[in-house]
């Protein structure tokens, strides 16, 4: 028992050496296993009987370069569509989720609408919604409404995804313990303020991973707008393959979509880690 500055004992130093060795061994095992598995998969691919034909039609560098510009222009549309739809989906979904949770008899119709909306919309394949709205609404020739197919395809995506995201929100809201509501009410907060300041903030933190799941899904489903002849990345790729009988552009599109999703996934991981560090303060 002394107040001198602590220096690790020999036991501790030996322990650290063991841990270092254990880490090195794990690293070696991880590297070798990864290389082995990826190498084997690559080998299976390259040694398959149709490999030559496959690489000509799917892995042609020349075709990738030739189609790149059109696909890049197309993906820009997908990105804009995704961002705008997401902005509309989040508040709409939250409203539907909250509407479902209301208890006031006056709001009964809202509850019914919310339930029917989620049930029906989630039952319809998204591509059908896109086609129905993208071709259907312009065909109605309604005064004052745009006939822009991109717009209506976007609306279809918003309708479809807000139903999914609403259910995610509802699960999050339900997961907040009733004691939280009780203590907010005990402080004199009304229903709306309780939701706004206590329940929803906690719910949102919990549902970040499933929410991201739906975002990524939406990013990819912006490709469905190609079904109504909108010139997005997938349409551009299909256009190219139709003329050149080479499927490499599809791989290019896939690469673009992966590039779009990875930053979003990392961002969410980071956000989540920050919340854990701040709110759970090392609790185990």
């Amino acid at each position: 028992m002394s107040d001198t500055i602590w220096t690790p004992s020999d036991v501790e130093l030996a322990r650290r050496a063991v841990r270092r060795r254990q880490r090195t061994v794990s690293l070696v095992i991880a590297t070798v296993m990864t290389a082995l598995v990826l190498g084997l998969l690559g080998l299976v691919l390259v040694l398959s009987p149709g490999w030559e034909r496959f690489s000509e039609t799917f892995l042609s560098w020349g075709d990738a370069r030739a189609s790149f510009a059109a696909i890049r222009d197309g993906i820009w549309l997908n990105i804009r569509l995704f961002l705008l739809c997401e902005l509309a989906i989040l508040p709409l979904a939250l409203l539907i989720a909250i509407g479902r949770g209301t208890r006031s008899p006056w709001l009964a119709p809202l509850r019914v609408v919310a339930v029917v909306y989620t049930d029906v919309v989630r039952g319809i394949p998204t591509i059908l919604l896109v086609v129905m709205l993208g071709f259907g609404v312009p065909a109605l020739q309604l005064q004052g409404l745009t006939n822009d197919r991109i717009f209506w395809a976007g609306v279809a995506l918003v309708i479809s995804y807000s139903a999914y995201v609403a259910e995610v929100f509802r699960a999050g809201i339900d997961s907040v313990h009733p004691s939280q509501v009780a203590s907010a009410q005990a402080l004199g907060l009304g229903h709306v303020r309780t939701l706004r300041h206590v329940v929803v903030p906690q719910a949102v933190r919990r549902i970040v991973p499933p929410l991201l799941n739906d975002f990524v899904s939406l990013q990819k489903d912006t490709a469905l707008v190609s079904a109504v002849g909108v010139f997005d990345a997938v349409f551009a790729a299909r256009d190219y393959t139709n003329y050149n009988f080479n499927y490499t552009p599809y791989l290019v599109v896939a690469g673009f979509f992966v590039l779009m999703t990875v930053p979003l996934a990392r961002l969410t991981d980071w956000l989540q880690a920050r919340v854990v560090a701040r709110e759970r303060a090392g609790a185990r």
Binding site: M1, W6, S9, V11, E12, R15, V18, R19, G282, R284
Partner: protein
């Protein structure tokens, strides 16, 4: 399987069950345990006392390998369990831990809480695990609650169930981390009674506690911790009547009023 009890007639010096040597634990710059040494023989009941933040809980968590230590050693049944090559799971299977906040699994009934570890960690057959759990629940007056979920029980009942859950694996060392601190005063008694009962049966225990009268009653050794160090270590009659260290005296004056 009666490792929990020691024969009272056998008064020979037993090899220590647990030996802590110069333990150190720090979180960043904050040193939580500093040069802590402690020996626990089979049948000992060691009470850790001291104000909150003195390191009692951290010491227990280190003993159960829930925290990695920064220096020093812990020898349990003769093995150095701080060695990184030691399988923490196997060590913990020989120990029992009860937490301040009960930590029962809310999705399982009391009985299911009690048979989980015997079945899934110790490989006991379902029937044997149930029989043992029911016997212990019966002994501690919880038989009628066996099929309820923990949230249906009072705090005292939940904590008793948590003690039973820890006992179901027949640990050689039982650790209790301020198990009455979250309870209403009227419920404290029922929980302490079963700990008293365990002590009388010779269960080896290390417990952090704020219940001084209880510590005086059941402890074989009382340790006073402050600032992460064991300032004084003595049998209860010495500790509570004639403590050596002025800090211990100050602390006891504060808590005993």
């Amino acid at each position: 399987m009666t490792s929990l009890t020691k024969d009272p007639s056998q008064e020979v010096e037993l090899a220590p069950l647990l030996e802590v040597r110069s333990l150190r634990k720090a979180y960043g710059d904050r040193v939580v345990l500093d040069d802590v040494s402690l020996t626990v023989a089979p049948g000992d009941v060691v009470c850790l006392i001291g104000s909150s933040g003195s390191g009692k809980s951290t010491l227990l968590r280190c003993l159960d390998l829930l925290e990695t230590v920064d220096d020093g050693q812990i020898l349990f049944e003769g093995d150095d369990i701080t060695d990184p090559r030691v399988d923490a799971k196997r060590v913990r299977r020989r120990m029992g831990m009860v937490f301040q906040a009960y930590n029962l699994f809310p999705h399982l009934t009391v009985l299911e809480n009690c048979v989980l570890a015997p079945r899934r960690a110790h490989g006991l057959r379902s029937k044997a695990a149930r029989e043992r759990a029911l016997e212990l629940l019966e002994r501690f007056g919880l038989a009628e609650h066996a099929h309820k979920h923990p949230d249906r029980l009072s705090g005292g009942q939940q904590q008793r169930a948590a003690v039973v859950r820890a006992l179901c694996t027949e640990p050689t060392l039982l650790m209790l981390d301020e198990i009455t601190a979250a309870l209403d005063p009227e419920l404290v008694g029922e929980v302490l009674d079963i700990v008293r009962d365990l002590a009388a049966r010779g269960t080896t225990m290390v417990m952090a506690t704020h219940e001084m009268a209880f510590a005086r009653d059941v402890a074989t050794t009382v340790c006073f911790l402050e600032g992460g160090r064991i300032l004084e270590q003595a049998p209860p009659d010495v500790m509570f009547t004639d403590p050596a260290h002025p800090r211990t005296r100050a602390f006891l004056r504060r808590v005993l009023g």
